[in-house]
Point group: C2
Chain length 194, copies 2
């Protein structure tokens, strides 16, 4: 996705430790027009990949919410964000799976209420990054527990050096990413997604 | 807002301790069509209240993000979500203020990068609930630190019994809410916002 690739080239920072910082438009300040284009591009890519009849879009709080919301809106389905932090309101039973988070430095439990997923659902999983695939993998597990089908996986930025795609490919689920980032020493090499 | 009031009447649960649970359409599973209508209603109400020339919409992660994003998109401005959890990527300087969270049972620091707010900004603060006003108040403080102006405050659901509006009114900032919920014993009384 050209507009995203250009934006990462202009503003993306190598924050060290394999982390790309894109706080200016993706995960602190959010560019709403770019998010709309990202949603449109996901829908287009999934159509090309033969993904259809999606009933829900799932993401993990926090950074995946904007792109998941717009994608869900374009598909006219609800969006669910898996919870990472248990609060006093969370009195339901949950489908849950553990993911490793590098940016937070700890493992987190991703929880989706059993009320909102069933064998009748066919979901898209959308997140901001595809790195090791740990978050996406945990979301796939939580969805599988419900008996729902994961129809497709979409991530805004892929870091191919971390092997997330290879980890997820055995699941046989179409994967769409909008841009790829490779670290070349201090520099970021940014290219189109796939 | 009629559609929201009806939805809370149908699905809202009294989770005890003054907490209204609206996980089915607002803060776990998100109804994207309703969120669009909420954004449109905020824009309309702020227009009526004389709020104009907004440059950014601010919320606090997590539950305020969907309605803040759609409102920002309608106004064609960026949306910023204040961070509550420091991660490895958060290497900037931050405007920060502390808020009490009842649902999480602990105080949280709300952080907005100094890169994205300045004296030139005129912001809308959007969140899911107006209860005691603690989160909104902290966001107002963080924005004030930047020299930016808070042009308006919008919350999806107001719980008038908790006095948030009275706490915020001395700031002289227009406040718009889309629905009000009052606890009547075990029952919820739901009415239009103001």
């Amino acid at each position: 996705m050209k507009q995203l690739v250009e934006r990462i080239r202009e503003e993306g920072e190598n924050a060290g430790g394999g982390i790309v910082k894109v706080d200016g438009f993706l995960n602190h300040q959010v560019d709403t027009a770019l998010t709309q284009l990202m949603g449109e591009r996901f829908v287009e890519m999934f159509l090309t990949k033969g993904v259809h009849d999606i009933t829900k879009v799932i993401t993990a709080e926090v950074s995946g919410i904007p792109s998941a919301l717009i994608t869900a809106q374009l598909l006219d389905v609800p969006m669910i964000y898996a919870r990472k932090h248990r609060s006093a309101v969370m009195t339901d039973d949950y489908f849950a799976a553990e993911a490793k988070s590098r940016t937070k430095g700890e493992d987190v439990m991703l929880m989706i209420s059993k009320k909102y997923l069933s064998v009748l659902d066919r979901v898209l999983i959308i997140d901001d990054f595809l790195a090791t695939g740990s978050t996406i993998s945990a979301l796939c597990q939580a969805v599988a527990e419900s008996g729902a089908i994961v129809g497709g996986i979409g991530c805004v930025i892929e870091k191919p050096s971390e092997g997330g795609r290879e980890k997820l490919e055995p699941l046989g689920i179409p994967i769409a990413t909008l841009a790829q980032v490779v670290f070349d020493g201090e520099e970021l090499e940014v290219g189109p997604g796939r």
